[in-house]
């Protein structure tokens, strides 16, 4: 075991967490949590939990950044502060379900979630539920689910924290947190505002500029150093939380999260358009509000939630400049603005209701059940749609109610054997899913949770989105739901529940088949249409490990590492005899992905090193190697150093971060260059207000 430990220590690298080591220290550390007994709720569950230090390292991080450096899921970035999607186990971004305090964040229209729009400072708890393990929480997670939550702080009196960040490319990040708490109330307001022209420099390998002689003959060519053009962003987020303790057992909560973004979409690297020639802009305003009640008792828990989401988004791609008037960009009705090439307006209202309960009649049984309702009202307008009778209508104007019911029983048959069964039923509009079962097993091979064998087996379903079904032109009302079977088996090892050394590692094999995979194909008429075309077999290995070492009271070193091997193969029928995509890896799914973090804390100092790597990705379904058919593998490193000071009236924190430490030239998506080495500095101030210091 010692040798195994050493090998794992060498191979897997890792993260660490802070804890409050005293009121005068902001840098403090949580070590790897070691529990003597595995919670009933986690019987057979493959779960990756993010530590708060990863979520709240600094204010400029989005959840896309956190997932990139702290998990092995594939984060597909179209640029800095640009669309970032997440895919598990070789599936697509719409197969990743995202929950925020239980409420779905996936766009009901598009199915996916943009993780660059989620500031990690707004998230207090985050975890990944891999494959079948998502079924107890949500449906449609053919790859898995990302579970995000906010939690009440433990304020006593007033609290204020302000952080100012300044970074390369004239990037400014501001963060303000106001809090108040007493025995009954906990109030918190968090504000984040980030702006940047985002005009980072890169050597454009996709272009060459010419040098001419006087007779216009090309005498030389060179790859120009360009700036990321048209990439400016302004993001504002506000999160208001109110928690009220009704009784010792009952708690009420109100959480509201507003997002307002105005982002340009950067030009592709092969564009020779002048900066002022084309405007390419995306705007979004979203409000998510959630009212909750929770009762906790010795034999269980009851939760009720009601929520509302309003989201408005706009996308404009317009020719600007000479000859084009400054048209009204909104144009909610009537004709489109002058020079419009692409245009869309989306409005979304979602009503949400949720009831759940857990009942623990004995130490050996846990029953839980939940009923969830989402009612979506979606409107989308692209280029106008006009019926044959001359009626103007929207590209999409649909409502859908989605009801789900889940029942789970977990049984610890013996002290070393746990079994769980989840049954799930979904109703989307008027269509019922078949019964979705998931079976979980958990066997303790070494007592105290030191070595646990676990596995799960499930069926899963994902219904087409409203856009898939109904968007005009292109929507296909005849689409079938995507359906899959998957299983996984793994081992979980926890060692050293006493200081100074603690280790946690897991190794999982997974295998899943997805049928009727929905893909959008270009129709010859100039629009895309979705079809159930693919059958995908994905399988592979996920490894995760973390280790913390506290040699003395002043020191703590923590490592966290993850790795995934994810072949994801198209096993559908060929389009024609010429189709070379069958049996090939899906485009943009790396076979290998890995991440690691190393954190070292000494007294008030903290050094953090983060690393991620992705293997080569294919851009084509046929996988063949060609100049644009493959994207190079890459590894990135970030380094940051932080220090806290405790003054008489306040705590100060200082952090300097270097991103892309080795100035790696890379793209995640073809012809979308990412920034090279860049720097950020953060200064935080937390006043001490008598009793109101943050405990």
């Amino acid at each position: 075991m010692k040798r195994l430990l050493h090998t794992l220590l060498l191979l897997f690298v890792a993260g660490m967490a802070y804890s409050q080591e005293g009121i005068d220290s902001l840098i403090a550390i949580d070590e790897v949590a070691i529990v003597g007994r595995r919670p009933m709720k986690q019987i057979g569950v493959q779960r990756t939990e993010f530590e708060s230090v990863a979520l709240q390292e600094h204010i400029a991080l989005s959840m896309a950044d956190v997932l990139t450096y702290n998990s092995s899921v594939f984060v597909k970035n179209y640029g800095r502060a640009t669309l970032s999607t997440v895919a598990f186990r070789g599936t697509s971004p719409s197969h990743t379900q995202v929950l925020w305090n239980g409420m779905k964040l996936n766009s009901p229209m598009l199915g996916m979630t943009d993780f660059s729009m989620i500031p990690s400072y707004f998230i207090d708890e985050a975890s990944l539920l891999h494959g079948s393990s998502s079924i107890s929480e949500t449906g449609g997670g053919l790859g898995g689910a990302v579970k995000l939550a906010t939690r009440p702080k433990e304020y006593e009196g007033f609290h204020l924290q302000f952080v100012q960040g300044v970074g390369s490319f004239s990037t400014f990040d501001e963060y303000l947190q106001l809090g108040y708490g007493n025995d009954r109330w906990q109030l918190s307001t968090r504000l984040v505002y980030a702006t940047s022209p985002n005009d980072y420099k890169y050597v454009n390998r996709d272009k060459k500029l010419n040098i001419y002689d006087e007779e216009h003959n090309i005498i030389d060519q060179y790859h120009p150093t360009e700036r990321n053009r048209n990439g400016a962003f302004k993001d504002f987020h506000a999160l208001q939380e109110i928690y009220y303790r009704l009784t010792d057992r009952d708690r009420l909560s109100l959480t509201a999260w507003y997002t307002g973004t105005n982002r340009e979409l950067p030009m592709i690297s092969t564009s020779y358009a002048e900066d002022e020639q084309i405007e390419n802009r995306q705007r979004e305003e979203t409000l998510r509000a959630l009212l909750g009640w929770e009762r906790i008792a010795s034999v269980g828990r009851l939760t009720a939630q009601a929520g509302y989401i309003h989201s408005w988004s706009a996308y404009d791609r317009r020719i600007t400049g000479a000859g084009i008037s400054e048209g009204e960009a909104e144009s909610e009705s009537g004709g489109l603005p002058d020079g419009t090439m692409e245009y869309s307006r989306n409005r979304q209202h979602t009503l949400y209701g949720h009831l759940s309960g857990e009942y623990l009649p004995s130490e050996r049984w846990l029953f839980s059940g939940e009923v969830t309702a989402h009612h979506h009202m979606s409107q989308s307008k692209g280029k106008e749609v006009i019926d044959s009778d001359g009626t103007h209508r929207l590209g999409l104007d649909k409502e859908r109610t989605e009801l789900t019911a889940t029942a789970t029983a977990r049984w610890r048959a013996t002290p070393w054997l746990g079994v769980g069964l989840t049954l799930r039923e979904e109703l989307y509009g008027e269509e019922f899913s078949p019964l979705i079962p998931a079976l979980f097993l958990d066997g303790e091979l070494i007592r105290g949770g030191r070595l646990v064998l676990k596995g799960s087996l499930s069926r899963n379903y994902r219904f087409p989105t409203l856009t898939d079904l109904y968007f005009q032109p292109g929507g296909n009302p005849d689409l079938r739901p995507e359906k899959g079977w998957s299983y996984d088996v793994g081992m979980d090892c926890r060692l050293g529940n006493e200081e100074p050394l603690a280790f946690h590692g897991s190794l999982t094999w997974f295998d899943s088949h997805i049928e009727d995979w929905i893909l959008w194909y270009p129709k010859s008429m100039g629009y895309y249409t979705p079809e159930n075309v693919k059958e995908v077999h994905s399988y592979g290995i996920e490894v995760e490990s973390s280790l913390s070492w506290r040699p003395t009271r002043d020191w703590l070193v923590a490592l966290h590492g993850s790795y995934a091997w994810t072949p994801s193969l198209n096993e559908g029928d060929p389009f024609s005899s010429a189709d070379r995509s069958v049996g090939k890896q899906l485009p943009y799914v790396p076979e290998h992905s890995a991440s690691a973090t190393l954190r070292a804390g000494w007294r008030r100092w903290e050094l953090s090193y983060k690393w991620c790597a992705y293997s080569e990705r294919y851009t084509l379904s046929s996988n063949g190697s060609s100049i644009t058919g493959t994207l190079d593998s890459y590894a990135l490193s970030n380094l940051s150093l932080a220090r806290t000071c405790s003054l008489a009236w306040c705590d100060l924190s200082l952090r300097g971060a270097i991103n892309n430490l080795f100035n790696k030239e890379y793209v995640t998506v073809l012809s979308r260059p990412m920034p090279g080495i860049n720097y950020e500095i953060f200064i935080g101030i937390t006043p001490k207000w008598g009793k109101g210091r943050n405990q």
Binding site: S331, A578, A594, L620, S625, T628, S637
Partner: protein
């Protein structure tokens, strides 16, 4: 330290598998620089993705090479290549969403010059060594360029469908005598006639919903396909048509209607100007210019869903392209004039147009 960190990092990764392309077709690769006579295939690539490419095929030696532009020039062709035209020993490639025109030497395939500053260019039509017109997907105009100096020297504004707040569009062009004829395709209905001596619009013909491709036959008549739009399109939705136009009088002489919902594209003509070809729902059709009704059967049996078509101007061999799933290299099938399958080869992603260098 850097090397150590990388080494440690990559220790985590298993050896990556290298998947090589399996070009299991029956056409051997060649060096295009040695065989400049032949057929260029313009592979559009996926929109907003920058995987356009140029393929060269030698019909005599029966060899081909892919990505010839990038291989010879050392940089990518760009995003959404649309067309290529040959004039005065240079091949002009129009790359729509890169907003650039490249001129390449047909012997070396190396760039000789470029023109930028034209938004969403689609096709180019040469009038002389010093004058050419460039059409635009998003713009009711033709840009006038000087191919010799690589300069934009003017523009011509054409009428557009103002009722729907559109950008207007200009598409395929045919030059007959001193007049240029251009289809206005995207959300438009017109064919516009331009006097090239004055660069003024001298005629506008509303021919149908979205006239796309345009050819002239040996009698000097124009043929166009109106694709008919789609259900809910703001410009309307109708059965597609194949129309013969008298260019002098700018009048429709005959229109043949297809079934509503058919997808018509790429009307092309053989070297002698008497046989029309087009694609309907991915299948090839042929009609004599003197025919009085549409053909009831396909011109010849093919595989896949065809996306582009051309005819060898000398021997009337027919080349068609299947984009397969639009996410992999498309395949080109060559048939004899009688429809006998000859060879096939994989080109690039979404082969969209052809250009003969003869």
């Amino acid at each position: 330290m850097k090397r150590l960190l990388y080494a440690l990092g990559w220790l985590l990764l298993a050896t990556m598998l290298c998947q090589c392309s399996d070009d299991d077709n029956n056409t051997p690769p060649i060096d295009p620089v040695e065989t400049p006579q032949g057929l260029f295939v313009i592979n559009a690539g996926n929109y907003n993705t920058s995987n356009a490419s140029l393929t060269f095929y030698d019909p005599v030696g029966n060899g081909y090479d892919n990505e010839v532009f990038a291989k010879q020039n050392g940089y990518k062709l760009g995003d959404t290549a649309q067309s290529m035209s040959i004039h005065n020993g240079l091949g002009w490639i129009v790359v729509n969403n890169s907003h650039i025109l490249y001129a390449i030497d047909l012997k070396t395939l190396k760039e000789k010059g470029r023109i930028t500053g034209i938004n969403s260019p689609r096709y180019i039509c040469f009038l002389s060594n010093e004058k050419a017109y460039v059409s635009a997907m998003y713009g009711n105009q033709l840009t006038i360029i000087n191919p010799k100096t690589y300069a934009i020297i003017g523009s011509i504004t054409v009428p557009k469908n103002t009722a729907i707040g559109n950008t207007g569009s200009t598409e395929e062009m045919v030059l007959i005598g001193k007049y240029l004829y251009v289809t206005c395709w995207s959300y438009e209905k017109n064919i516009v006639k331009i006097d090239t001596t004055t660069d003024e619009v001298v005629g506008v013909l509303e021919v149908g919903i979205q006239p796309s491709s345009l050819v002239a036959d040996r009698n000097g008549k124009l043929w166009t396909i109106c694709d008919g739009g789609y259900e809910g399109s703001p410009v309307g939705y109708a059965a597609p048509t194949l129309c013969r136009i008298n260019p002098e009088t700018m009048s429709v002489e005959a229109c043949y209607a297809f079934t509503k919902g058919d997808y018509l594209s790429k009307v092309r003509i053989n070297g002698t100007g008497d046989q029309l070809y087009w694609l309907n729902n991915g299948l090839p059709y042929r009609m004599d210019i003197s025919a009085t009704e549409l053909p009831s059967t396909v011109a010849f049996e093919t595989e896949g869903y065809l996306y582009a078509l051309t005819i060898d101007p000398e021997n009337n061999d027919i080349y068609v392209a299947d984009a397969i799933d639009y996410q992999q290299a498309g395949i080109i099938y060559r048939y004899s004039a009688t429809g006998k399958p000859l060879v096939s080869f994989y080109a690039g992603v979404i082969p969209t147009e052809f250009c003969w260098n003869k």
